[in-house]
């Protein structure tokens, strides 16, 4: 059993296909935190996250048995995409979409309704814009970058951010304010605009 832990994901998949169920258990153990964190951050409810987590790995189990795993070297990403499809299915059924609106800033870069246009062309442009914004975020000072990522990419509240980073809520808010000011400056310098019309 111990030596199985040293196998790569691909070797474990092969072992599982050959009939060794323990290989599947190790894959679950190895990837459970990333996959669960992803689902939890998307749905924000532990009980629901537990259900989707189970369904995701059962789908993974089934797909591997049917020989439908062919993503060499990207096992975690593959499982997270399966989980994502189940999350979308869930919200379609519930007709309840967990949009996160940021009430703290009236001009929130990430909540612009224009960023939700649906044509493929617009989608591509928006993806490019978001990529640009993400690369600008990386250029911010570390404490500002941390707040932006926790708030916008991980959906944490300012109270949660303050607790995680050991600062007061006011400090976290202040860092976000400076981050937005800096981002706007960088966008002006690089002539990046978020309005696509």
């Amino acid at each position: 059993m111990t030596e199985l832990y040293f196998l790569s994901d691909e070797e474990l998949v092969k072992g599982f296909v050959a009939g060794n169920q323990k290989c599947f258990s190790i894959l679950v153990e190895r990837h459970k935190q990333k996959v669960f964190s992803y689902i939890y951050l998307m749905v924000r409810r532990q009980e629901l996250a537990e259900d989707i987590f189970q369904e995701s790995f059962l789908k993974v189990h089934c797909s591997i048995m049917e020989g439908r795993y062919a993503e060499s070297g990207r096992f975690t990403s593959w499982v997270m995409r399966i989980a994502h499809n189940l999350i979308i299915d869930h919200f379609r059924k519930q007709k309840h979409l967990p949009l996160i609106y940021n009430e703290d800033y009236s001009h929130d870069l990430f909540n612009d309704r224009k960023l939700t246009d649906t044509s493929i062309e617009d989608q591509l442009v928006h993806d490019e814009v978001l990529k640009d914004v993400a690369s600008l975020v990386d250029q911010l000072p570390d404490n500002q970058k941390e707040v932006v990522k926790m708030r916008h990419f991980m959906g944490l509240s300012f109270k949660e951010i303050a607790e995680e980073t050991n600062v007061s809520i006011n400090t976290a808010l202040g860092r976000m304010r400076y981050a937005l000011i800096n981002l706007r400056k960088m966008m002006e310098e690089k002539d990046i605009t978020l309005s696509v019309s």
Binding site: V28, Q46, L58, C62, H84, L99, T116, F153, M154
Partner: protein, 61 residues
């Protein structure tokens, strides 16, 4: 064929892409500090269901 997604789904897809990329940059320990982990019972049930799923599929074959 152009496929039009409802704005909410498009939003979730974009959020999902960002999150998936970001999560790969974090270690499991860092993620444990930011989010809960799956319950041990969840893992146990999952493995049991997977085992049952495997056995029934083998019977079919």
């Amino acid at each position: 064929m152009t496929k039009h997604l409802p704005p909410e789904i498009a939003f979730l897809n974009r959020k999902g892409r960002f999150l998936r990329r970001l999560i790969l940059e974090f270690s499991d320990e860092e993620l444990q500090r930011l989010t809960p982990s799956p319950l041990p019972e969840t893992i146990k049930t999952l493995l049991k269901r997977a085992h049952d799923q495997g056995s029934s599929s083998m019977r079919k074959n």
